[in-house]
């Protein structure tokens, strides 16, 4: 098969571009790839000879390594560009970057950027698939997918689950992609955070319920996603401080007890232990934080496989 699959977007900016069926297909494919990661030889030749450029304009070792691992397990070559690296001089515009990336003849671009919308900008200017690995507070679709995969694994299905998302909703790309993905897959989503960390129109825009206290969001929930708090935001008068946040919004055993039996705990990582959750919660058996990491590689393999033009059987060199 040549070119992007029928009905798939060229770029993946956020999960609202995918139908429920397409998301299910990604998760099913990811499940098959997760199995590859458990083999002795953790590699399949799906993207042999393909070049995946990883452009990380914002530092994120975890997401970069996850994408890099995913690409390598698919036998693709990878090229990591970071803004601090020699290839990216200060003052170079995103348009220049796009042109330079294209000159390397890559087959896909993975981009992490501090500015919301940067992947859209590149997607409009590059003929290759652009995968958003997080753009400012806007979207982080692979995180949304790996959270869906983790929940589906743990609970059998996402449909009908009551899921709470707690923390700095306004500034979180994880919250946005989770809301979009969870609602699309039929979950009932409640978000909670201090008023300074919420933003207008969440109900109508995402179809979620909004709470300024954490307890009503946790009441009877099947799962909770605790968002990472950017401690430096205290200075912007977004919240008075980590200590009070932990007391009022943090997840401890008392609050966890409000959730439904068999509930699970997610966090995009890295966790500020003692702030978003107590160390006991972090280490609890129903904390799936490390499963999320494993699933992250699998969904990224699935996406690369589904969105990057796979080689024609028997072809010695990629034709383009």
């Amino acid at each position: 098969m040549k070119g992007p699959m029928q009905g798939w977007p060229k770029d993946l900016i956020d999960l609202d571009q995918l139908t429920e069926q397409q998301i299910t297909q990604v998760l099913d494919t990811a499940l098959a790839f997760r199995e590859v990661s458990e083999r002795e030889i953790k590699k399949v030749p799906v993207l042999r000879g393909k070049l995946v450029v990883l452009f990380f304009h914002e530092n994120s070792t975890r997401t970069r390594l996850s994408f890099e691992t995913a690409a390598k397990r698919l036998s693709a070559d990878t090229l990591a560009l970071s803004s601090s690296g020699s290839s990216m001089s200060k003052g170079e515009t995103l348009l220049d970057t796009a042109r330079n990336i294209l000159a390397m003849r890559p087959d896909a671009l993975v981009i992490r950027h501090g500015a919301a919308g940067a992947p859209v900008f590149l997607g409009e200017r590059l003929p290759i698939p652009v995968l958003n690995a997080g753009d400012g507070p806007h979207a982080h679709p692979t995180q949304g997918l790996l959270d869906l995969m983790t929940l589906r694994d743990a609970k059998g299905s996402v449909r009908g689950l009551k899921v709470a998302i707690v923390g700095d909703i306004a500034h979180s790309r994880v919250a946005r992609s989770d809301m979009v993905g969870l609602v699309r897959m039929g979950a009932e989503v409640r978000v909670a955070g201090p008023p300074s960390m919420l933003c207008p129109g969440l109900e109508e825009e995402y179809g979620v319920t909004v709470h300024t206290r954490v307890e009503p969001a946790l009441e009877g929930a099947d799962a909770v996603v605790m968002l990472r708090i950017q401690l430096e935001r205290q200075r912007g008068s977004l919240f008075p401080g980590a200590r009070e946040y932990a007391r009022v919004y943090g997840l401890d055993e008392r609050r966890a007890a409000l959730m439904a039996p068999g509930s699970v705990i997610l966090h995009p990582g890295p966790v500020n232990q003692g702030v978003e959750m107590t160390p006991e919660i972090y280490g609890a058996p129903n904390s799936l934080i490390l499963d999320q990491v494993t699933n992250g590689v699998a969904v990224r393999m699935a996406l690369l496989c589904l969105m990057v033009d796979p080689p024609e059987p028997g072809a010695s060199a990629p034709s383009r």
């Binding site: 348009l95 500015a115 919301a116 806007h138 946005r176």
Partner: protein, 433 residues
């Protein structure tokens, strides 16, 4: 020997009602000599007059854009006097009021005099009206020398681009400007509420993860400035009103007797914050595109006389400032070459009388800026001729501005300005294919 231009058969708007069904205008040596209905009492056409058949066209007193950024001096790669004034004339404007937030800012009589003198050397194009800073170096602290600015030919004072945060300074400015016969303009925006904002704060900014600008940043500033106008009893003009409550505040202050006036821009009448979906930097301006409710309220405020003028806030930027991430892109869009077709579209969509259009785009700005009464015998012959039925597609690349940062690229319009007469001289005439 006297020079004559005779415009025959246009439906003349904004003057005596008997001219609205068709009339002739005779211009002698750049001044209106006479305007009379066709057939009865039409002025004698002198020997050697240039005669233009204007049958089927609308003639308006020359349109005046009270809010443009011509980027001169300092940012001539975006626009200069030649390109900006040519774009204005091509868009149907006979005069434009240039904002002083240039680099350096225009805050002395010498700078005003120099810009006006340079504009007279521009061949073709609209007239330049120049505004000067309200405070020195737009610093918001000490007033500029308004008497000297007025003597040098300035038409208004403003720190546009930013708000004068100090209320006492603004109060004195309003008083002082009134004595000098200069119109003070305010850019209403409380920066402590708008800081870091990139678009209207609402469900779209939530969806896009972009920092929002709440409408209250504009409205609280409008409230204070209107209150100061009421306090002083002196005129104040509010720039680029974009919100429902902002317009309503002005409506209420007018009812209280405050001598306030205001303008809005065409984009607030046609576009909403939904246009930002997709992160198009051509939908990024300040104030930002608001909600559908605001858009409808601005149209209503236009129709009920709350809004005095349509002004473009023409803000040209090159691709260096616009073809970048949305978050880094400069605020502002061009407007000179789309305002008239958009206004004509508004007439079609709302049934707005052409007389009101003449007021919004010519008579009111002329009165606010203290210019000679248009269409009156003896006044400078500034006229805009409009073909209301001409169908065309806007392409920024075919225009006269140096910049192409428009959200209206590819829009299909019915009607446009086809001839712009400045001081009796045809400064722009649409080439017919």
């Amino acid at each position: 020997m006297a020079r004559h231009l005779s415009l025959k058969g246009a439906r003349i708007q904004g003057g005596p009602p008997e001219l609205e069904r068709g009339g002739d205008i005779l211009i002698t040596d750049g001044l209106i000599a006479a305007a009379a209905p066709c057939g009865g009492g039409a002025p004698e056409c002198p020997e050697g007059a240039e005669v233009v058949d204007c049958t089927g066209l609308l003639a308006f007193p020359g349109f005046i854009d009270m809010h443009v950024h011509l980027r001169t001096p300092g940012q001539e790669h975006k626009e200069d006097l030649d390109s900006g004034l040519a774009a204005a004339a091509a868009g149907g404007f006979t005069s434009v009021l240039a904002m002083p937030n240039t680099s350096p800012p225009v805050d002395t009589a010498a700078q005003v005099g120099d810009l006006l003198a340079r504009s007279l050397r521009v061949r073709g194009g609209a007239r330049l009206l120049q505004s000067a800073c309200l405070t020195r170096d737009r610093g918001g602290e000490s007033l500029c020398e308004y008497f000297e600015l007025k003597e040098a030919g300035a038409s208004a004072v403003t720190d546009d681009g930013g708000w004068v945060a100090d209320g006492a300074v603004m109060r004195r400015a309003i008083d002082y400007a009134a004595v000098c016969g200069l119109l003070p303009l305010t850019h209403p925006e409380d920066p402590t509420l708008s800081r870091g904002g990139l678009m209207h704060e609402g469900r779209i900014s939530t969806r896009l993860g972009l920092r929002g600008i709440p409408p209250q940043a504009e409205e609280s500033a409008i409230y204070r400035d209107c209150a100061l106008s009421l306090l002083t009893g002196n005129p104040l003009h509010v720039c680029h009103v974009s919100t429902a409550e902002g317009a309503d505040l002005i409506r209420r202050f007018k009812a209280l007797g405050a001598r306030v006036s205001c303008e809005t821009a065409p984009h607030y009448l046609f576009l909403t914050h939904e246009r930002v979906l997709g992160f198009d930097s051509h939908a990024k301006m300040n104030p930002p595109l608001r909600t559908e409710r605001d858009r409808e309220a601005m149209r209503a405020a236009l129709l009920d006389g709350t809004v005095d003028a349509i002004a473009t806030d023409h803000a040209p930027h090159s691709s260096l400032e616009k073809e970048v991430e949305f978050t880094d892109a400069a605020f502002g869009i061009t407007g000179l070459e789309t305002a008239v077709p958009l206004a004509l579209r508004l007439v079609r969509e709302t049934g707005m009388p052409l007389r009101l259009l003449a007021s919004l785009m010519s008579l009111n700005p002329s009165r606010l800026l203290g210019l000679p009464e248009p269409l009156k015998p003896g006044s400078p012959a500034d006229l805009t001729l409009v073909d209301p039925d001409l169908e065309w597609t806007y392409r920024a690349g075919e225009g006269f501005s140096k910049s192409r940062n428009t959200p209206f690229e590819g829009w299909e319009f019915t009607g446009r300005a086809v001839m712009t007469v400045v001081g009796g001289e045809i400064r722009y005439r649409l080439a017919r294919g």
